[in-house]
C-alpha cells in the first residue's frame, strides 16, 4: 500500500505539470488537457518512418519513460511514502537520469531523418555539459547528510534547508535539471525554430504519447529531486508532509517551465563552454565550501 501511494502521487503530479505546461505555452487553462491530448494522440495514426532502426525507434520513448520513473522511484514524498528507499538513492537517481541521454540518442538515430539525428547528437553535447553539474551538487548534499539515503538527506535539512546552506549548489543543480529535461532554453534536441521538432518530430500517435508522458514525468522527477535535495522535502509546519512535498515540487516545476521563456535558446558551444569553464569550477568550490562549513560548524 505504501508503494502505490507514491506512484499515484507521481501520476497526479505529472498531470498537474502537464496542465501547467499547457497553460504557460498557450495561455489557456484546461484541467482536462492531458486526457484529451492523450486520447487524441492514441486515436490518431502512429506512423513509422521508412527503414528506421526499428529497435532504437521503438525503445526510445519507453526508455525515456523508464528513466524518469526509476528516478522518481528513489525520491520520497513523506517519511514513509517512497517507492524504494535504497541505501544509495542519491546515486541511483543520477544513474537513472543517465538513461535519458540514451533514450534521446536512440530517438535521434532511429528514424534515419536529418533533423532527428542532429537533435540527438546535440543532446549528447548538452549532456556532457551538464552531467557533472548534476553530480557534484548531489555530492555536496550527501556530505551534509552523511548518507546517500534520500530520506536522510531530507532529515538533515531539519535545521536549515540546503538552498540556504549551499545556494551555489542549488543554482547549479536547478540549471542542470532544466538541461537534462531539455526544457527551453536548453531545448536543442526538440527545438521548433531550429530543427522543426527534432528528436520528437518523427513520433506520432501512441509513441508520441509515451514520449510526452516520459518527458512530463522526467520534469516531475527532477522537480522532486530538487525539492528533496535542496528544499527540505516534506519538512514544514502545519500542513501534512505529503502536501508540503507536492506544493514544493509544483513550485519548482513551475519555475523550471517559466525560467526558459525569458532567455533565447543557448547554442551548444556556449552551453559547453559555460558549463566547463564556469560551472565545474563553481561546483568544486561548492563542495569545498560545504566541506569547510561542515567541519567548522559542529
Amino acid at each position: 500500500m505504501s508503494v502505490l501511494a507514491p506512484i499515484l502521487a507521481l501520476l497526479l503530479l505529472a498531470w498537474c505539470v502537464a496542465v501547467l505546461d499547457a497553460w504557460m505555452t498557450t495561455g489557456r487553462f484546461r484541467p482536462l488537457a492531458p486526457l484529451t491530448a492523450t486520447l487524441a494522440l492514441v486515436a490518431g495514426e502512429s506512423l513509422v518512418p521508412r527503414k528506421p532502426d526499428r529497435l532504437f525507434f521503438e525503445t526510445a520513448p519507453i526508455l525515456l519513460l523508464l528513466a524518469a520513473v526509476l528516478a522518481a522511484a528513489a525520491l520520497p514524498i513523506a517519511p514513509h511514502l517512497v517507492i524504494t528507499d535504497l541505501a544509495t538513492s542519491a546515486l541511483f537517481v543520477n544513474a537513472a537520469l543517465a538513461y535519458v541521454l540514451v533514450a534521446l540518442l536512440m530517438a535521434g538515430w532511429g528514424p534515419d531523418g536529418a533533423y532527428a539525428m542532429i537533435g540527438g547528437w546535440r543532446f549528447l553535447g548538452q549532456t556532457i555539459a551538464y552531467s557533472m553539474l548534476i553530480v557534484m551538487p548531489i555530492t555536496a548534499v550527501a556530505m551534509r547528510a552523511q548518507s546517500l539515503l534520500t530520506t536522510d538527506i531530507v532529515r538533515s535539512q531539519a535545521g536549515l534547508w540546503n538552498v540556504l546552506y549551499q545556494p551555489l549548489g542549488f543554482a547549479l543543480f536547478f540549471v542542470a535539471a532544466m538541461a537534462v529535461s531539455f526544457l527551453p532554453p536548453f531545448d536543442l534536441p526538440t527545438a521548433s525554430g531550429e530543427l522543426a521538432g527534432g528528436v520528437e518530430a518523427e513520433y506520432t500517435g501512441a509513441r508520441r504519447a509515451i514520449f510526452r508522458l516520459g518527458r512530463t514525468i522526467l520534469i516531475v522527477s527532477l522537480a522532486t529531486a530538487t525539492t528533496v535535495f535542496y528544499l527540505g522535502g516534506w519538512l514544514g509546519p502545519w500542513l501534512p508532509p505529503w502536501l508540503w512535498s507536492a506544493l514544493k515540487t509544483l513550485a519548482v516545476a513551475a519555475a523550471m517551465l517559466a525560467a526558459g521563456h525569458a532567455v533565447p535558446r543557448l547554442r551548444e558551444a556556449h552551453l559547453l563552454a559555460w558549463a566547463w569553464k564556469a560551472g565545474i569550477p563553481l561546483a568544486m568550490l561548492n563542495i569545498f565550501l560545504v566541506g569547510v562549513l561542515l567541519l567548522v560548524i559542529p
Binding site: V42, T84, I128, S131, A196, A206, A209, W276, P281, L295
Partner: protein
Amino acid sequence: MTAPLVLYLLLAALVAGTLGLAASIYAVARAFGRARAEPGKDVPATAATVSRDPVWSRYHARYYGFALLFLAFDMEMAFMYPWAVVFKHEGLVALLDMGVFLAILFLGLLYGWSQGALQRQ
C-alpha cells in the same frame, strides 16, 4: 529500510509495470486501427521537401575535447560518492585528501583549457 533485495525486486516490478502501461497504450492505439500506408507518408519529415537520403553517417561531434575531460571527471565522481558519506566522520583529513585529488583534476582542466580542448572544434 528494508532488505535491498526486496527493494530491487520492487524496482523490477516497477519497470515491468511501466512496460505494461506502455504496452497497453500501444494495444489501445492498435485497436483504433493501423496507419494507412500512403506514398511519402513514411519519409522523415523535412519541412515539406521529400528527402529520401539516408543520414546515418559519421557525424562530426565537435565536442570531443569536452567528452574526454568528462571521462576523467566522471571517474572522480565515482570516488566522491563514498567519500561524501564518510566525510564528516573523518574530518579534516578527508577534506585534505579529496582536496588534493580535486586540485589535480582541476589543474588538468586548466591545462586542457589552455591547450584549446574546451572549445568547439
